[in-house]
Amino acid sequence: MAAAVELEGVNVTFGDFVAVRDANLTIEPGEFFSFLGPSGCGKTTLLRTISGFIEPTRGSVRIGGQDMKGIGPNRRPTALIFQNLALFPMMTVAENIGYGLRVRGVPRHERDEKVKNLLIQVALSEHGHKKVSELSGGQKQRVAIARALAVEPSVLLLDEPLSALDLKLRQHMRTELRAIQKKVGITFIYITHDQGEALTMSDRIAVMNAGVIEQVGDGRAVYAEPRTPFVASFVGENNQIRGRISDVANGQATLETPLGTLKGRNPVGLKTGEEALIFVRPESLKLQPGTPANGATAGFEAEAVDVAFEGSVTHVTLRVRTGQKITATLSAASGLALPVPGETLQIGFAPQDGLLLARPERP
């Protein structure tokens, strides 16, 4: 079976501005695939390139094994759900859903039948005759999904469709979207800047930054095994400390930092003398009161600045000697006493919780 979507060396430039640089990617049929990145990272441009509104400046887009060059959005087997949904206000809910079938010349009775089924599928059977403006945000969302599904696309593209909803509804729609995807079994390509959305819904995630796909992998991989400093700091909370590699051994490396010597994993194969960053998740930091005895475990001193108790966890903001802020998350389950602001603490972490990555030339 051919891949649902293949990108091969896709570049999109607007004048001097490179919106997407060298995107290479294969998305499998039936996959829930997300593009995750901050606004302006080129993810929407990439989505519009797949849907056919933008022709790549270089490279090719293949959908179902077929090259899409010169094929307009109206003739691609994709359907796009817009950020603002773009429902047609002058049509009823049923007319909206049936629009794609109408332009395809599907006979009326067949169309009505199909629209009815879709209305049931998105739990809107009672609302077919209503105007779009009479629906709630979540209902509109479902109309947009039904309208896109009506044309039986092989790939459904979603451009941050949940961003306009309130938090509760957004979380509910996540599970609903995932359920719909499982039911219809087609490829979903989802664009978001919300890592929570990407992590909970996706089979795989492509993390994008400044037009470049930095890493592709499942949610666990991008969270636990980031390969670039951007991914490490964008997906989940992370602390970073700069330094220079002084020793490399057994997949681990030692980093000389202004805060002392720190040890971490070295998955990207950094060499001695290279500039590097070490990333440690807040939940991996261990806090100990007092100053350490000489020659204790890798660690450094910090002063607690702010302690925010949140029930199951407590976020502690600390200031180290260089003035940099570090966050640590303490689990209530650990049973440790909470620090007080102003207290001097000893911070440490296990070498397998530290992750060394090359420092980008221009941060």
Binding site: S51, G52, F53, G72, P73, N74, R75, T78, A79, L80, F82, Q83, N84, A86, L87, F88, P89, M90, Y99, G100, V103, R104, R147, A148, V151
Partner: protein
Amino acid sequence: MSGPGGLTLVLGLPLAVALIFFALSAYERRTGLISGPGFFQRNGLAVGLYLVIAVGFWAFFVIVLPQLAMVEMSFRPKLPPSQMGGPKDIYTLENYRYFLFGSTTSTASWNWLHIKAFFLTIAVSIAITLLNFAICYPIAFHMAQSASVGRLRILLLLLILPYWVNEILRAFAFRVLLSSGGVINQALMGAGLTAEPIDFLAADVGLYMGLSYAYLLMMVFPLYNAIESLDKNQIEAARDLGAPWWHIHAFIVMPHAKPGIASGCTLVFMLCAGALAAPLVLGGPRTLWFTPIVYDRFYQAFNWPQGAAYAFILLMTCIAFVLLVLKAFRLSLGEITR
């Protein structure tokens, strides 16, 4: 209106209007129809009073009164000044009857000359309106949805600049262009496309061109406004769902722009049917337009009552026609003013 009576009317009427407004607002306030700061509280008594009087004065003296005078006049016979107000000065439908059954020779047979001119005017106005819509819709759509800011500015300038030229001058310019020895005929003959000059003016090409051009802006701007407010995503959504371009225009853009289309078409149709300069200057020798007839009633026949009746027939027919079309397209009069 002269003497102290007239002066009282001029000063008293706007004041009366202001008082009516005042009473109305007080009444609505008491019955709870409106709430929040009132008109006079928001603007202050002096400014508020000025606004009400100014608007009332303008609406009454500039719009209502002249029209009423014309309507009144249209029901009176044509009399020499000495007999005005005399026993012969009665209300009559004679002027309206003349439009249907009248001529210089008899008043029994149908007045085909005027009736034909009347329907020609209406029919051609409809045609010009449709033509204008066909020309302006693509321009307006381009300006509203796809033109860059720079292009939009140039297009607007190109559209507006020619209208700095006087309407009659523009009509004569068309005459010069289209006449037998005009630029277009010379070019056609020079290119060997025709041997003889084509008489564009006799074929009314000039009239249609002049009329279309004269009211182009009246069509472009309402259309532009209406299309501009359409969310680009809707066009893209329709395209993404597989719609061909004509379907998008017919079922997405035009329904959205319906109020703009209606107000543009209404303006062009009304102005076209009432146009005077273009038909006078550019009309072919065999074409009799209705507005010059009205003009002739006033200034050639010196029959003001009849002219008023004719003008009124035209106005009423146009209004009825426009309302009918609006109803057919399920639009209310309020919507086209949006």
